[in-house]
């Protein structure tokens, strides 16, 4: 009864347009009562596998996979319930328990499920389940497979909490939770110092972003007195433009950390130290897209500050190019894909910065990217699996004959990401390029051009990966320069079914998802109640933009073909021009971080350690010496102690007398 009243009221509110597409929700009932289960299932898996220890070794991977798949099915049930509901009833709120309550600071543990979070739930649990299945085979010979599945489940639970939380503080829990899971999984092979270092680096750079999220919450609390979605995003939030800009930029900082956007991008390449399924799930399909979720979720706040939105698009544009340039110069297949991920998320961030013109397309690209990039990573893992864990593409070549399924699925993912007509990436990327031009004005032209150039670069570096890996001479047959004495030729072979099956499923997504999404504008219509939508004002027709994009893609692919198919790929990378050298060094990102932050920090720390011993302590020690004799006597219990004790007693008595006199005079 109340239920209908409430939905009627919120429907009326939407109808009057008050607060625009602001976030309104109804209490969860019926199937939606099970929303919490989506998170609880993988969380249970993590708990059982971590607390159960070795006893669960035998069935740990099955349990972890089962619970991930279970969570996916709960997600499907929620999705079908949501399809049956009217627009106003699709946004539901589930209160679980009161969490932190001090004065006006009220935080609950509660979930918010709407069209936007639904998309994420399906993506996370869907791709997550596939990658669990893949990992059964991939991690078969790892003695710590059970722990690996525990961490994967922990990741799923955290990521789902991130997208289902109904307030920013609870979102923060998921936000750092995925950071922890990422830390544990990047450093999964912790006996390798490089893995341990990469894990630490990722967590630290993410913490810099987390600082932004924390300050954004502080600002929301001091401005609005609340940080729950129902309130802050209701469309009723009023504040000065400066305040909105402040909150937005802090949220953007958070997004930059998690989504490896400039200037917090340096951790993602190193994160490839983790097992490949982790790279596919966390560092390609889901976690790194959390920044896009955060901005899109906070649409109401970003729409209120055009300045902040401009900064968002700039960050996106820089990262699009940054990632694409770095991607052109990588010989490590995983690092090439990682640079590509950074660049593709740059597209999404850029789109999200465009406001209602771009939110829906940002999410659409996020989902299609989730399919093809996860597929590409799994393909890379499959190649490595058959090649003794070799990652250097200069040591690949001609592998299409040896691993046909990997070749075909990887190839479809490749065609999707470069935007080959009618595949997923073609639709989703094209929409972003259109939206960038549709922003209008000079900035529209600049952003549009950047996305076009990047489309060409994407085609170039991905064609390069494809050619170096699957075509050309079989370079792996020759011993590498400086090979160890026990070097023996690898025997490339196709991976087991548990690995190829997920790749095949993802390949289907890479091919068809984009077309399905644009059919009747179904994806945009689905999200519009949450994110709003506006056409914008493009200076070019849809066909003109498509034409330009396809031309850029063809150009990029052609250049790569000339360089890597028509000529021999050298086993050792040539010197190259200044630009090539810079790109190989990740555009000096680590040198900059080290020079600006790490080394000054080390000097400061060393200086303070010195000062603490000699400065403050030296001063106090000197004072003690002055009062109680030499400092060497202070060290001797009997003499120094007794004398200084007597003296401090005397000093204390004097103080007492003085204080008494003062109080009397008062």
């Amino acid at each position: 009864m109340t239920q209908t009243l409430v939905s009627a009221a919120s429907g009326a509110l939407l109808a009057t347009g008050e607060g625009g597409p602001g976030l309104h929700s109804v209490p969860a009932t019926g199937v939606f009562d099970a929303t919490w289960l989506v998170i609880a299932l993988p969380l249970l898996g993590a708990a059982v596998l971590l607390l159960g220890g070795r006893r669960t070794n035998r069935f740990g991977h099955w349990l972890g996979t089962l619970l991930a798949v279970g969570s996916f099915f709960v997600g499907l049930a929620l999705f079908s319930a949501m399809l049956d509901a009217s627009d106003a009833d699709r946004s539901v709120n589930q209160h679980l328990w009161d969490w932190v309550s001090v004065g006006s600071f009220q935080a609950e543990v509660g979930l918010h499920l709407d069209q936007l979070s639904m998309v994420f739930v399906l993506l996370i649990t869907g791709v997550g389940s596939l990658i669990h299945i893949y990992s059964i085979g991939y991690m078969e010979h790892d003695e710590n497979r059970r722990r690996f599945f525990a961490y994967l489940n922990l990741f799923l639970a955290s990521m789902l909490l991130l997208v289902l939380a109904n307030n920013y503080l609870l979102l923060y829990v998921g936000w750092e939770g995925v950071g922890l899971a990422s830390y544990l999984l990047i450093g999964f092979w912790q006996h390798k110092p490089s893995a341990a270092t990469a894990a630490k680096k990722a967590f630290l750079m993410n913490r810099v972003g987390d600082l932004g999220l924390a300050v954004a919450i502080f600002l929301m609390f001091t401005t609005f007195g609340t940080f729950s979605f129902d309130q802050v995003l209701s469309g009723n939030a009023q504040a000065s433009g400066g305040t909105f800009t402040g909150i937005d930029l802090m949220l953007l900082l958070a997004a930059c950390g998690k989504s490896a956007q400039f200037p917090l991008q340096a951790w993602l390449g190193d994160a490839m130290e983790g097992p490949t399924p982790v790279s596919a799930l966390i560092h390609a399909a889901t976690m790194v897209t959390a920044g896009v979720y955060l901005i899109t979720r906070s649409a109401e706040l970003f729409n209120a500050s055009p300045d902040a939105q401009l900064v968002v698009t700039i960050v996106g544009a820089i990262t699009v190019l940054f990632g694409a340039i770095v991607g052109c110069a990588k010989d490590d297949i995983k690092k090439a894909l990682a640079a590509s991920t950074m660049s593709q998320i740059g597209y999404m961030i850029l789109a999200a910065g465009l406001g209602p013109i771009g939110y829906a397309f940002a999410i659409m690209h996020l989902v299609t990217h989730g399919f093809f990039k996860a597929g590409l990573f799994l393909g890379a893992g499959s190649v490595m699996h058959g090649m003794n864990d070799e990652v250097d593409m200069r040591r690949y070549g001609g592998l299409r004959k040896y691993m046909p399924i990997t070749f075909v699925t990887f190839g479809l993912g490749y065609l999707a990401i470069i935007g080959f007509p009618l595949l997923s990436g073609y639709f989703s990327k094209d929409k972003i390029i259109e939206a960038a031009f549709a922003k209008g004005g000079t900035s529209g032209y600049v952003l549009g051009s950047v996305t076009l150039v990047a489309a060409g670069l994407t085609a170039y570096y991905m064609t390069r990966v494809m050619l170096m890996t699957f075509f050309g001479r079989e370079r792996w047959k020759e011993a590498p320069v400086g090979a160890p004495a026990d070097w023996h030729e690898p025997h490339p072979h196709e991976s087991p079914k548990s690995m190829t099956l997920p790749m095949i499923v993802l390949a289907f997504g890479s091919v068809f998802a984009g077309g399905l999404f644009v059919l009747h504008d179904s994806f945009v219509n689905w999200l519009t109640p949450v994110t709003g939508f506006s056409e914008g004002d493009s200076p070019f027709s849809e066909y003109a933009v498509t034409g330009m994009a396809v031309a850029m893609v063809a150009l990029g692919a052609l250049v790569a073909y000339v360089q890597y198919a028509r000529r021999e790929v050298p086993a050792v990378a040539p010197q190259g021009s200044f630009i090539t050298v810079a790109a190989r060094k990740d555009l000096y990102q680590d040198a900059v971080n080290e020079g600006l932050v790490m080394r000054p920090g080390q000097y400061l720390t060393r200086m303070l350690v010195w000062l603490d011993l000699r400065g403050i302590d030296g001063f106090v020690g000197g004072l003690a010496a002055f009062i109680g004799g030499t400092s060497s006597r202070v060290r001797k219990v009997q003499t120094g102690f007794a004398r200084s004790y007597a003296l401090s007693m005397f000093g204390g008595t004097a103080l007492v007398v003085a204080a008494t006199l003062m109080a009397r005079m008062a």
Binding site: W99, A237, M649, A666
Partner: protein
């Protein structure tokens, strides 16, 4: 009958009696002495739980009060009573003690290292007895400090605590322990003496205002705060400031607040892990507790005057402690500096004078007790296995002792305030409370979370990951006793992270009362959102 039962006196008397009992165990019967000590701490825990249950969060500020004349001439009373803040800290103490006894089980049995670095032939016959008796004595004194409502009683126990602590630090632990013990004593004694002057001055002022009747003064906390509130006791501003500084100095040394912190790293590095926890998780908490209870309530105007100064020092302490932790090469010293950073958070929370800050600070005292205990005790297990506390001597422990490494990581994650674990809630409350009063200070303090991640993860990486270093391969994993020590701490860190409400419900009324004593209210939001109540019910489907 239960209405008059002297719960708090019994709570104080049990560990005292236990200390005597342990001391009376015949020489040589070390195991018996330990078991008696453990039993006493468990009885105390049961009593503390009973007291907590009896305490009603929405009742009077002070409950279970007792009042008996002690020294008539000076108006001193044996007056006890707990508010929400006191009760949770007593519970913290009571929970930690059995854990510490168990963790320190063998620490006093071994021959002690002499000052010149050589090891004695045999342990003194009664060393184990003395060790545990002294620990129990400290527990008793900490409990009285948390429960006293008479300033004189508080002062006596606050100071007397130094004696058993001095012997615990000086008698057991590393080679430099005597130096550390003397330093500990000198710093804290100096603080105490300054405070004594202020206590006497306050007494004189109350006598002038005739608060004790018949021209006498009083030490009764409730009587004085009431008189301060009504204006019956109207201190001259200069005198009030001087007295505030007198009290504050003692608490700032104890807590410790930057720049009065330098005794803590030496103490924590030299003391046994159990005693280091005793210092940082309990004894030091008396300092921050006393700031909240005495400085603010007795000297509200001076508190407001000095709040910006104290906040500044505390913020410096947060960053300073964290940076120094990053630069340490000794595991225990590193953890000591993390505590200095954390005490900065607690103190800044108290002096931001907001409900979030103070409730957060109180919760922080509890959570820091658990997280630091977990980190230090596991570090202690690690150090005792390798016989070195130098970080560079470790590496790859995860490979040989995964359980030890895992618990160390969880404790470390609690120390860096990972959401989901208890310290996150308190740290966030402190930060938000600080930010709403002093925006810049709040932001600077927030940088502490990045540094915390740095010092914890660097420590973990260097000790636990990488190839197994020579000398590490023989390290065993945690045994059952050690697991029993760590498990409850980790469980508490998890539970309080997810459901801190029971603690906050108890603490909040006491904090609100404190803030009303200093006449401060929380800053209001600048643009509160108009409630659209019918459309967006927060309550959900109940």
């Amino acid at each position: 009958m239960s209405g008059n039962f002297p719960w708090l006196t019994v709570l104080a008397a049990v560990p005292f009696a236990g200390a005597l009992l342990v001391a009376a165990v015949p020489a040589g019967k070390r195991a018996l002495a330990k078991n008696v000590a453990l039993l006493v701490t468990l009885v105390e825990l049961a009593l503390a739980i009973a007291v907590t249950v009896k305490f009603s969060p929405n009742g009077d500020r002070f409950q279970l009060t007792e009042n008996h004349t002690w020294i008539k001439q000076f108006g001193v009373h044996w007056a006890l009573g707990v508010d929400g803040i006191g009760v949770v800290l007593i519970l913290l103490t009571a929970v930690l003690m059995p854990v510490l006894v168990l963790a320190s089980w063998n620490d006093a049995d071994a021959p002690q290292v002499r000052m010149d670095g050589t090891v004695g032939d045999t342990a003194a016959p009664r060393s184990t007895h003395a060790f545990f008796a002294l620990m129990l004595a400290v527990e008793a004194m900490v409990v009285v400090s948390f429960a006293a409502t008479d300033i004189f009683v508080f002062y006596v126990f606050f100071e007397a605590m130094l004696i058993p602590m001095y012997f615990l630090i000086g008698g057991f632990g590393g080679a430099q322990r005597s130096y550390a013990a003397v330093k500990f004593l000198l710093y804290n004694l100096l603080g105490g003496l300054v405070m004594l002057a202020a206590v006497v001055a306050l007494y004189v002022a109350t006598a002038d205002a005739d608060l004790g009747g018949a021209g006498q003064g009083t030490f009764d906390l409730m009587r004085i705060t009431q008189a301060v509130g009504t204006g019956e006791l109207n201190l001259n501003p200069t005198a009030e400031k001087a007295m505030f500084l007198g009290f504050m100095f003692a608490f700032a040394v104890k807590a410790p607040l930057w720049p009065f912190h330098t005794w803590l790293p030496d103490t924590m590095t030299e003391a046994t892990p159990g005693i280091a926890v005793l210092v940082t998780a309990m004894v030091d908490k008396v300092g921050t507790f006393a700031m909240l209870r005495y400085c603010l309530a007795l000297f509200p105007n001076a508190s407001k005057t000095f709040a910006p100064l104290v906040v500044t020092l505390a913020i410096i302490g947060i960053i300073y402690g964290a940076l120094l932790a990053v630069g340490q090469t000794d595991i225990k010293r590193l953890i000591a500096y993390t505590s200095i950073s954390h005490f900065g958070f607690i103190i800044v929370g108290i002096f931001a004078l907001t409900s979030q800050g103070q409730s957060g600070a109180t919760l922080y005292m509890v959570n820091h007790g658990f997280s630091t205990a977990a980190l230090l005790l596991v570090a202690g297990f690690l150090i005792s296995r390798r016989g070195s506390k130098t970080i560079a001597d470790f590496g790859g422990v995860q490979k040989v002792a995964p359980l030890l490494a895992g618990t160390f990581l969880v404790a470390g994650l609690a120390t860096l305030s990972l959401p989901g674990l208890a310290p996150f809630v308190s740290e966030f409350l402190v930060l938000v409370g600080t930010f709403s009063r002093y925006q810049a200070a709040g932001i600077v303090a927030t940088f502490g979370i990045i540094l915390a991640a740095l010092y914890v993860l660097v420590l973990y990486q260097r000790t636990m990951t990488g190839p197994v270093k020579a000398g590490v391969e023989k390290i065993r994993d945690l045994n059952v006793r050690e697991l029993v020590v760590v498990a409850p701490l980790i469980a508490l860190l998890l539970v309080l992270g997810v459901y801190p409400k029971p603690v906050l419900d108890v603490v909040n009324p006491a904090v609100d009362d404190t803030l009303s004593q200093v006449e401060k209210t929380d800053p209001a939001p600048s643009h509160p959102i108009e409630q659209v109540a019918a459309v967006t019910p927060l309550g959900g489907n109940k």
